[in-house]
């Protein structure tokens, strides 16, 4: 039997601890977590389907020299319209394996009416490994009020994995997220249904701004 010296009365008289209500404000954190996934979780697999079509058109287009204002668009298998353009594109040959992009821009209009715009200072498409490296300040905007910026972004269209080894900042009506690095792992090549794990590393800070009453 444990030793039980104190009497119950003690707790009542002092109106003990008022910490309990503390837990009620943990709810908003969920909203922030969902905000984190808005950018990446659902979008990459759709983009992957679309961009494979696009690579083919880019390959036909390439004639080994600089193409100004390349622009190609299409609809992903899941029905989202996308368009990719740049100031110029420089394929590394008639049968290009790499395409250098200046001021690449991508827009995806999702069927739910939301649109995501991405642009960067520079980009490099690797048609062999089906990856795109976006550099010089990547930023994303969605029409429902979310923005995200990162110094660089590596997108792998085969696996649906996205990595930013530099700081990431995401902001929306309900708050913001900052971290030193970010990685989305979907491994769609191995697991087509996608097993998305989104990781923010090197220090994370979420700020939730409750709506003003």
């Amino acid at each position: 039997m444990e030793s039980q010296e104190p009497t119950v009365g003690v707790a009542e008289r002092d109106g003990y601890s008022r910490l309990v209500r503390v837990l009620k404000w943990v709810f908003p954190i969920l909203a922030l977590l969902l905000m984190a996934s808005i950018f990446v979780l659902s979008n990459t697999s759709k983009l992957r389907e679309g961009l494979i079509i696009a690579d083919a058109t880019l390959a036909e287009l390439a004639v080994g020299q600089k193409i100004t204002n390349p622009h190609f668009s299409g609809v992903t298998k899941s029905g989202d319209a996308f368009s990719i353009s740049a100031e110029w594109a420089l394929p590394d040959g008639v049968k290009p394996q790499h395409v250098e992009l200046n001021k690449p821009r991508a827009t995806i209009s999702f069927q739910n009416g939301n649109t995501m715009r991405t642009n960067a200072g520079a980009g490099a498409l690797d048609l062999v490994s089906s990856t795109a490296a976006l550099t010089e300040n990547v930023d994303l905007h969605t029409t429902n009020g979310y923005t995200a910026t990162s110094s660089n972004l590596e997108v792998n269209f085969e696996t649906g994995n996205i990595t930013s080894n530099g700081p990431v900042h995401a902001e929306g009506p309900i708050g913001s997220i900052d971290s030193g690095a970010m990685e989305l792992r979907q491994d769609l090549d191995v697991n087509p249904a996608g097993r998305a794990v989104l990781m923010f590393n090197n220090g994370v800070k979420l700020i939730y701004k409750p709506k003003k009453k």
């Binding site: 209500r21 954190i29 994370v204």
Partner: protein, 142 residues
């Protein structure tokens, strides 16, 4: 039969921003969970909730938090009172909180310790069980 704890509700200023910091955050779509790993701290005004790891489980529809698990060096404070434990679980649906492992609840000069503390947020009552000890620190006139 444990020691009853009476908890009086405090009004949390809901308009203050909530800040969550940790070394890393992992959001797993499959398990509908998000884990703040390493020095996890949730702060709103005077209120602080911290632990080595805070894991948030939400429902499949991603519309509500179901459960929050905090492990190692769990601490709550509202600036004046402090609760510490080695682990804590908050079941949102039933409004119950279970703290376990070297639980200490400190309010001013009173401290109560035990192996496990279960709190019911609806009735604002709680029970401390196992090796329950109450420590009084007589008020010294500094």
């Amino acid at each position: 039969q444990g020691t009853g704890i009476a908890l009086s509700p405090i009004e949390v200023d809901g308009s203050q921003p909530v800040e969550v910091t940790s070394d890393s955050l992992t959001v797993e779509q499959d398990s509908n969970s998000a884990t703040f790993e390493g020095n996890a701290r949730v702060v709103q005004g005077e209120l602080i909730f911290s632990a080595n790891r805070i894991r948030v489980h939400y429902n499949a529809a991603q519309s509500a938090i179901e459960r929050i698990e905090a492990t190692t060096n769990v601490m709550f404070t509202n600036g004046s009172e402090i609760a510490e434990a080695q682990s804590g679980t908050y079941i949102v649906g039933s409004g119950t909180v279970n703290l376990a492992g070297d639980v200490v609840l400190v309010q001013g000069v009173n401290a109560i310790s035990g192996d496990a503390l279960s709190l019911d947020l609806n009735s604002n009552r709680g029970t401390m069980n196992g090796n329950v000890k109450t420590v009084f620190v007589p008020k010294t006139d500094q």
